[in-house]
């Protein structure tokens, strides 16, 4: 459904993102994982033409066969909210505090669909129910500040799926929310995706969250794809050293029987920190922070292919045998 080929996003002299190939099959949930400076948000925004004004984007992003890059603003506006839904990080800021909920949700519908007022109203009510918000009729007339963070995010999800998009791009949708609320939102997203056959591009720095929602994970470092593959493969048998260290750095809550022995235990750190835009090393961008770097790493690593579409770019990957890609 969505095919990214040779995408390059640059601001000034720096190439912030370079993705050789990334696919999102119809209805599939793919996670884009990275820390700050990884270019994950830039990539997501470039898909819908919302990259910063001074960013230069080249390459190809095809959505259902037609090219998205290079389209005019009016054409992109038709896609956004229509075929591609978008939810962003801070729900409180994405909602207009002066506009009632009902009106905000109906906006996308009124722009993209040709429905009578009554039909729009019915659709809004149905959407609010689908995102499991209680008492939709009452909710229509409320203002954002009267809702909790979780409810606000559900409203935003409702707006995003209002026109039955085939793809939903979600950028850190649960970062600002409490952990119990987060669970609800994540489950809702999975449910909506399954029910509607809607694909999700889930952008986040949290591997645990992405693991829960997505069937495939793409890991970005310094604007480059370092590892892509089915979730289980990337998480359980990660190959790229960055993915490996990312997993080790924040393992989350241990199993009950292991809790006691982890008390007071130090975290596994990744040496150093993400360099500034112009300070990445040549060759493999992670090599200055990698414990396994060798001389070979001063050259960009080739794409290695593992099983089931699991690919990564590392000269000294973790365990297992690798098959270098032809060419």
């Amino acid at each position: 459904m969505l095919e990214i080929r040779d995408l390059s996003v640059s601001i000034g002299p720096h190439e912030i993102v370079h993705i050789d190939a990334l696919d999102l099959p119809t209805g599939r949930r793919v996670g884009l994982v990275g820390e700050s400076g990884s270019g994950k948000t830039m990539t997501a925004m470039s898909i819908v033409g919302l990259q910063p004004a001074d960013a230069k984007v080249t390459g190809s992003i095809t959505f259902e066969g037609s090219e998205l890059l290079g389209r005019s603003e009016t054409e992109m506006a038709k896609v956004r909210g229509g075929d591609i839904g978008l939810i962003l990080q801070d729900p409180a800021r994405a909602l207009d505090p002066m506009m009632r909920i009902g009106r905000q949700v109906s906006e996308a519908i009124r722009i993209h669909m040709n429905l009578s007022r009554k039909e729009v109203g019915e659709r809004v009510l149905s959407l609010l129910a689908q995102v499991q918000l209680p008492d939709p009729e009452q909710l229509l007339r409320r203002y954002p500040h009267q809702l909790s963070g979780g409810q606000q995010q559900r409203v935003l999800i409702a707006s995003a799926i209002a026109c039955d998009p085939k793809l939903l791009i979600a950028d850190e949708p649960t970062t600002a929310l409490d952990v119990t609320v987060q669970e609800g939102i994540l489950e809702l997203l999975v449910q909506l995706s399954d029910e509607r056959g809607m694909g999700i591009l889930f952008v986040s720095h949290d591997l645990g969250v992405v693991r829960f929602v997505c069937e495939e994970i793409a890991v970005l470092y310094g604007g480059r794809l370092v590892e892509v593959g089915p979730t289980t493969a990337v998480v359980r048998t990660s190959r790229h050293r960055y993915t490996e260290s990312l997993l080790a750095a924040n393992p989350g809550l241990a199993d009950s029987h292991e809790l006691e022995e982890y008390v007071g235990r130090r975290f596994d750190v990744i040496r150093g920190s993400v360099p500034a835009l112009g300070d990445f090393p040549t060759g493999c961008r992670f090599r200055d922070r990698c414990d396994f770097a060798s001389d070979a790493c001063s050259e960009p690593p080739p794409t290695m292919i593992g099983e089931h579409g699991h690919r990564f770019r590392c000269w000294n990957p973790a365990e297992g045998t690798v098959n270098a890609a032809a060419g």
Binding site: S36, L186, R236, A249, L253, V263, D268, V269
Partner: protein
């Protein structure tokens, strides 16, 4: 030895006290807890549970309306009226957002020296400043810089260095790593652990991340709506939550934990 911090029947609310006080107007209600010297305590709960407020009351930054708070055997109100500087010196805080906890118009040199200037009434020497920075793994070269020139991780380290410069007894950390990248979080958390054992600090950490709390804190209190719903040894509470609320927190944390089984 009596606990370092003793709290009983603590009530706190923001704003003016009104004649008729409804229950839910209180941010903290009837809290009772003890913190032993040298212990590590985690404070968990959702937003609005009052955990940040609790920390500020224990530090003496907010004045509670009812109940008793004792620090090192003395009532905190006594500390505040008679020896406020000593109280401040012995209780320091590390804040959540590294960028907001440093005045953008102050150089690192000046910012780092503030607690000593204020509480010890002297200007710290460059040797001292360098030493403090080394403790947190930073180079003295950053002394002349301004906050906007440093990364979040570096700023948070400066915040920690600043807090421990006056050798406090208790270090309160309010979500110290939530605003940082994952790879930097691990570094700062390790730093907190090191600093704590090196200086024998009592560490009280507020966090929404149960995974982090389970590693750093031997004891934990779970807060909801201004009340403490559970308290005890972290590993026990998280393994066997006694209340539905705690259980919900644990379940939600496990859902997104990497240690959980595959779907």
């Amino acid at each position: 030895m009596p606990p370092l911090v003793e709290v009983s029947g603590l009530h706190f609310r923001y704003g003016k006290a009104r004649v008729r006080e409804h229950d839910d107007a209180w941010t903290l209600r009837d809290l009772t807890l003890n913190i032993e010297d040298g212990s590590t305590l985690g404070v968990v709960g959702e937003s609005g549970s009052g955990k940040s407020t609790l920390v500020r009351v224990l530090c003496g930054l907010l004045h509670h309306q009812h109940g008793e708070v004792r620090f090192d055997g003395r009532d905190i109100r006594e500390w505040l009226s008679e020896s406020q500087a000593d109280l401040r010196r012995r209780n320091q805080i590390v804040f959540q957002s590294p960028r907001r906890s440093l005045d953008p118009r102050m150089s690192i040199r000046r910012a780092l020296g503030q607690p000593v200037r204020s509480l010890e009434r002297r200007v710290p020497s460059d040797t001292e400043l360098t030493e403090w920075l080394e403790r947190v793994g930073l180079d003295s070269e950053i002394l002349q810089r301004y906050p906007h020139q440093l990364s979040g991780g570096q700023l948070q380290r400066v915040g920690i260095a600043r807090a421990i410069s006056v050798r406090p007894s208790v270090l309160y950390a309010d979500e110290p790593v939530s605003a940082l990248d994952v790879s930097v979080q691990a570094q700062v958390l390790n730093l907190l652990m090191d600093v704590r054992s090196q200086f024998g600090l009592t560490l009280v950490m507020v966090s929404h991340d149960l995974g982090v709390v389970s590693r750093l804190c031997e004891e934990v209190i779970v807060m909801k709506d201004g009340l403490i719903v559970e308290a005890g040894r972290t590993s026990e509470i998280l393994a066997n939550p006694q209340t539905a609320y705690t259980e919900a927190l644990v379940t939600a944390a496990r859902t997104v934990s990497l240690a959980a089984p595959d779907r």
